[in-house]
Symmetry: C2
Subunit: 219 residues, 2 copies
DNA sequence: AGATTAATCGACAGACTTGTCAGTTGATAA
DNA sequence: TTATCAACTGACAAGTCTGTCGATTAATCT
């Protein structure tokens, strides 16, 4: 789908009728709409209104609402998919692997804060119909594997890798899902501000690493 | 809203036309539909189809879709609200209070596994419009308070109570949000089976308690 | 400059949804 | 038994939403 450079000169002048730019703004607007409402409740008219281009452009470029939805899904998952795939954790200790994994995951979602919400909608409403099996599954199994290794090696406590993987993902992603709703920031900082995103990353990593280790005093 | 016993004899014979029973089945069907789709994407026709009664009954008893939605919200939050309010944690140590809180919360959502999903939809789609401020807020501040006490007392590590409260809630609730989507159970057990719910409760409590404590080896 | 094609728009047809209403049926009470 | 009323139904009016189509405009090529 890469457009062949139709002429040698790269014109950086802002074009009025730029197919790629139009598709991009539609995708961005659609991402916001789908993140908030999900596939069914999203309104193509609302998406069009946010872009400034006519509603028919959606159908011109993406066939129908479903096509647009899939495009949004693919675009927003691309980075996560790529990052988790190029992660090579086999040689690391379970603790180091877990930390590495969390850093990558949290960094990725901090840059795509709408991703968790989109994933949620997809999972709940469409029961993952639009996931062939790609991202979220592979990401989950990666985490399960790390946990299994750690338990076997005795460096993690006797946790259930499957359930714990879900709970860990919850610690990482829940923040973003609720973000739109949470008004009460600690000292007036916006939840998705750079400072708060960094804080959340730190907190989540510390919390999770502590959570998987042997607790010192079992009461 | 308690119906006054219209006659002394309590008739346990199954009535064909029972207003309360009809409302109850509508509410239950609506709970499922709203949990999966949220307010906008929920279809009154789909709700009616699940109940077996005519669609117009929804409007007869609940005025409109929004009225039904609010009724569902109130009914599904009632228990959580009541449980968290009658929790008296002031006199307990931070650890004991946290454990107590988690037991109550997890027990409640295990009995109402659709609640987290409904909360999620309400938060994301409607930005909490239908929460006056009731349940989820008070529950969150309760947890923040416990964490603050624990940090001040030095029994918890130097965590950010606000962010950590969200992450903890994520550990507790995320399991239920994804439940409909997760097929792969560890040994073939269904995610919402009694055994798995109990396992999740145990795992979440152990994970969270370990997560808030000082980690033994700070690498 | 004129022709060609891709990008864009606005209006609209068709389908789907909500909410209403007039009428029917079963329970209760006189 | 009959009257009355609440519970209930199916058909439909009105509104909303998706997706299409012919017309229009900007860029590109010759």
């Amino acid at each position: 789908m890469v457009r062949p450079a139709k002429s040698e000169k790269v014109q950086s002048v802002k074009k009025c009728r730029d197919a790629e730019a139009t598709q991009a703004v539609i995708l961005t607007a659609a991402e916001a709409e789908f993140a908030q409402h999900g596939l069914m409740a999203a309104r193509t008219e609302a998406i069009a209104a946010k872009t400034g281009v006519a509603k028919s452009m959606i159908y011109y470029y993406f066939k129908d609402k479903e096509g647009l939805y899939q495009a949004v899904l693919e675009r927003s998952h691309a980075e996560l998919l790529q990052i988790t795939q190029q992660l090579d954790l086999e040689d690391l200790s379970p603790e180091a692997a877990l930390k590495q994994f969390l850093v990558a995951l949290l960094d990725c979602v901090a840059r795509n804060p709408k991703l968790p919400t989109i994933m949620f909608h997809e999972a709940v409403q469409n029961q993952g119909k639009y996931y062939k099996r790609s991202s979220s599954l592979s990401i989950d199994t990666t985490l399960v594997n790390i946990l299994e290794r750690g338990v076997t090696a005795g460096v993690f406590r006797q946790l259930d890798p499957f359930v714990s993987a879900i709970n860990i993902m919850g610690s990482c992603l829940f923040y973003f899902i609720g973000a739109g709703n949470i008004q009460q920031h600690p000292q007036g900082k916006r939840v998705l501000s750079k400072a708060m995103l960094e804080k959340h990353t730190q907190e989540a990593i510390a919390f999770i690493l502590a959570g998987v280790q042997q607790s010192q005093n079992v009461s």
